[in-house]
């Protein structure tokens, strides 16, 4: 045990976490020349393409340092606020963390919030100043920022470059010298923390865990504390580039477990694995059932594909237990599902995976958060509103509550004014303002979660010219003035376009929605009036003029193939449209409300 080191990497997106992880794997000969690949730990195509880590990953390295053999377990964590619970569990599985800071960008909001998580878990922090090879690097100033933040010595900050490999040896030395070895007891009953799981279609769910006390052996009967379910450990092993089967994973080590579980929902991140016959008395602290934050309808573009969509969603859920869904129906779109997501990125990922991995073409409706409504008749009974159509009639409505968050934004002093205006426009109340340095300011707001859903990230990026980072955590429900804005096309309400909006913004947003839909819905052979309404009251109106002319003049020789290609593209677009009444609505129009300021 004294030769094991468990550590994770904390970094803001693009500060070089994946690249540095690749270098660590090279340096310790964990991967051979042939197996080398960029962003090796990001195994999903989607992760590679977008350059983000969505799932946690773990890999074991062996390294000889001053004549001694060490086992280094690196746990890679997702880099987005939607997945902050997963991050917290990965952090809980470690004794130390590399805090990677881009030498040109300095510290960002997410770095700080994850750093706090790490400090709460008593992790040893090794600050790494990364990308020192960059001409725009600002090592002195950024080192000062780090020293300010951690209260450490400037000498403790390791200069490195994931690109050139500079400093990687120093990082490994620090991991061994500064991070403490695991402290558990081999004699106590088994206690292991689940920090992630992966679905394997042939072997069922693979559970990743860190042993805190005791050991886990092949064939042992085990129990998951939160679910109470018992299994046999069919296979255990460690995680190299490929899995390495072992008879036993001992105290302090990281490994995987296969039990034949077919449903990812049985494996809850944060749950404790213990021995079935001799269970531990204490579950590992910090377990939570993850709750979805954002809800939206997902419908097949072609109504006939409903059953196939259900199958695909069920399979996706085997992979991703944080996805929840229940059947719902819409007058406009027919049968579909109301889905709950961890956040907007998670929603995008699910939609993209449905399209890529399951070949489904789907329509996602306007997302909303989960509201609590109370009627005059029954003012104490909570009605959960996850869908605009669930909102009780205004005449019988007593009050509505909406979820609030504490938002933390770090930006340059120059942009404080812009960021404040944006947050106030988004109904935020400032609660704190701290100058981290003379240049960098941390702002805290209490804000409705719903406002984050509606084009907040993009606006924040714009008003701060990209120099703002953002993080949030929920702080409970507060009273709200909520209305449902309905959209009528050709005088017919289209329920799938309805949105729940704060009363103060309803007129403005209703107007913008009409304008955006006018832009997105292709002209057809008749005029199409678009109206926004609250109840029976029309608040805005636009008209899509009829298409009168749709023919190219010349069509000879080379024009023919040019024109064919153009029309083929048009036809492909049409395949993604949904006919509602006699109006064809493109897929992206259902999300129009999210892009009102583009």
């Amino acid at each position: 045990m004294k030769h094991i080191r468990n550590f994770c990497i904390i970094a803001h997106i693009d500060h070089g976490k994946s690249t540095l992880a690749d270098r660590l794997l090279d340096f310790t000969n964990t991967v051979t020349e042939r197996e080398k690949q960029d962003q090796l730990l990001d195994s999903m195509d989607l992760e590679r393409e977008r350059g983000i880590t969505i799932k946690s990953h773990a890999i074991q390295m062996e390294y000889t340092y001053e004549g001694q053999e060490y086992i280094l377990n690196l746990i890679d964590t997702p880099g987005h606020v939607d997945f902050s619970y997963e991050v917290s569990r990965s952090i809980a599985a470690c004794e130390g963390a590399l805090l990677i800071v881009d030498a040109a960008q300095s510290i960002q909001a997410q770095t700080i919030s994850n750093l706090y998580l790490a400090l709460e878990n008593d992790l040893e922090i090794i600050p790494v100043l990364n990308k020192v090879d960059l001409p725009s690097a600002n090592p002195e100033e950024v080192t000062d920022d780090i020293v300010d933040l951690l209260g450490c010595d400037p000498e403790e900050v390791i200069h490195a470059s994931g690109k050139t490999g500079f400093g990687v040896d120093n990082i490994l030395a620090a991991v061994i010298e500064r991070i403490p070895a695991p402290k558990g007891s081999p004699d106590e009953p088994l206690q292991a923390l689940i920090f992630d799981s992966v679905y394997n279609p042939f072997r069922g769910v693979e559970t990743y865990f860190r042993v805190i006390n005791g050991a886990i052996k092949k064939g042992q009967e085990i129990k998951f504390v939160a679910t109470g379910k018992k299994y046999y450990a069919d296979e255990v092993g460690t995680l190299k580039l490929n899995q390495v089967v072992k008879k036993e994973i001992k105290t302090g080590d990281v490994g995987y477990l296969i039990t034949g579980i077919k449903d990812a929902r049985e494996v809850k991140v944060g749950d404790t694995i213990t021995d079935a016959k001799n269970p531990t008395k204490n579950a590992i602290e910090g377990f939570e059932d993850v709750k979805p934050m954002v809800f939206a309808g997902i419908y097949p573009v072609d109504t006939e594909d409903y059953e196939e969509l259900r199958n695909s969603m069920e399979k996706l859920q085997l992979n991703d237990a944080s996805l929840v869904f229940t059947p719902e129906s819409s007058a406009a779109l027919g049968f579909g599902f109301r889905c709950g997501f961890l956040g907007m990125l998670h929603m995008e990922i699910i939609q993209e995976r449905l399209e890529r991995e399951f070949n489904m073409t789907v329509i996602t409706t306007v997302p909303n958060v989960s509201y609590h409504a109370f009627t005059k008749k029954n003012p104490d009974e909570i009605i959960i509103v996850n869908n605009p159509s669930d909102l009780p009639d205004p005449s019988g409505l007593d009050r509505v509550e909406e979820p609030y968050i504490k938002a933390t934004i770090i930006t340059k002093a120059d942009f404080v004014g812009n960021v404040m205006s944006l947050c106030i426009e988004k109904r935020g109340q400032i609660t704190n303002q701290t100058y981290l340095t003379t240049e960098r300011v941390e702002l805290s707001f209490d804000m409705p979660l719903a406002e984050i859903v509606f084009d907040f990230y993009d606006r924040l990026k714009t008003v701060s010219k990209g120099y703002a980072s953002f993080d949030y955590s929920p702080i409970g429900m507060r009273a709200s003035k909520l209305v449902r804005v309905d959209i009528l096309l050709n005088a017919q309400p289209v329920d799938a376009l309805s949105a729940l909006i704060h009363f103060d913004n309803a007129y403005n947003i209703g107007k913008k929605m009409c304008e955006k839909l006018k832009e997105l819905i292709p002209r057809q052979q008749f005029d199409i009036p678009i109206q926004a309404a609250i109840g029976a009251k029309i608040i805005s109106r636009e008209t899509i003029k009829a298409l009168r002319k749709d023919v190219t003049a010349k069509c000879y020789g080379g024009d023919i193939s040019r024109k064919r290609k153009l029309l083929e593209k048009q036809k492909k677009g049409k395949k993604r449209m949904r006919q509602v009444g006699n109006v064809e609505i493109p897929q992206q129009a259902f999300m129009a409300v999210l892009k009102l300021n583009d």
């Binding site: 052979q525 298409l547 009168r548 002319k549 749709d550 023919v551 190219t552 003049a553 010349k554 069509c555 000879y556 020789g557 080379g558 023919i560 193939s561 024109k563 064919r564 029309l567 083929e568 048009q570 036809k571 492909k572 049409k574 395949k575």
Partner: protein
Amino acid sequence: MLLALQKELELRREELATTTVETIYFGGGTPSVLSSEEINQLLAVVSENYTVSETPEITLEANPDDLHEAKIMELAKSSVNRLSIGIQSFFDAHLTLMNRAHDSEEAKQCLEIATQYFDNITVDLIYGIPNMTMEEWQTNLQTVFDFGISHISSYALTVEPKTALEKFIRQGKYQNVSEEASLAHFNVLVQEAEKQGFVHYEISNFGKPNYFSKHNSSYWKGAHYIGIGPSAHSFDGKTRSWNVSNNTKYIKSMEQNELPSTTETLSKDDQYNEYVMTGLRTIWGISLQYIQKEFGDNYLHHTQKSAQKHLQEETLQTEKDSIKTTQKGKFLCDGIAADFFKV
């Protein structure tokens, strides 16, 4: 250039070995580059290397500023038997706006003389020009009718990106092309041309009986053709190819006996899509029998299914075994064709 063209004609003789050449077309700009002797010289090379029909349609495309009396007389002596003249409009304001080199006087002069020497003449007319009144449009049509012209190709003005016209419209110097006006012009064109005995045989083409353009029609019937010269397109039923557009590169390549072309092979879906796209533009429409024979039952059912909605909306109609656009459908032809597309 002449040598390069001759070389290409010789090199490619095998491509049309089993075909009789029915039409020959000298594209726009030719008259300013080649003399009539040179044109005859090229035609001689064609005859030596290809099987040419007894009565080929040989068209020369030219703008009025290239066709003064001497030139027309010279051409009349060559084998060219059809002139395609880019009149566009008889109003100077329109011609300036479209950046044409000729004026209205030259346009009339040219037709005056050309009609004396050539029986088979087609003119291009443009409508939907910013600020063009209906009276002006009708005057243009009447002028063409009065000259006894037997074929008209007429196009709505399209504003191409990155042209001076586009810039002026953006700056508000000209009004943007109005769809309503364009459509009204088109309807008048159809009506007036039909009154004069023209047949509206393709979206943009109107011909008196026996004066339909054999050359253009062959494009829409999927005929095989070879295009000679820089950026010329060729088609052999399955593959389409096109030469480099740069003159110097073209000539260099021909000097080395190499065809400077890029090829694209059409899949069955592509061929079907093109058949429908071009067919729906013509009075012949698309033939279900032909589709079944050439593409098979699947495509036939697909065609019938895709037609349903448009038959109901009366943008398409059936006639015996074919499907055609109605008057109402003609101006929406592209969108209708796209609905049939296999992608």
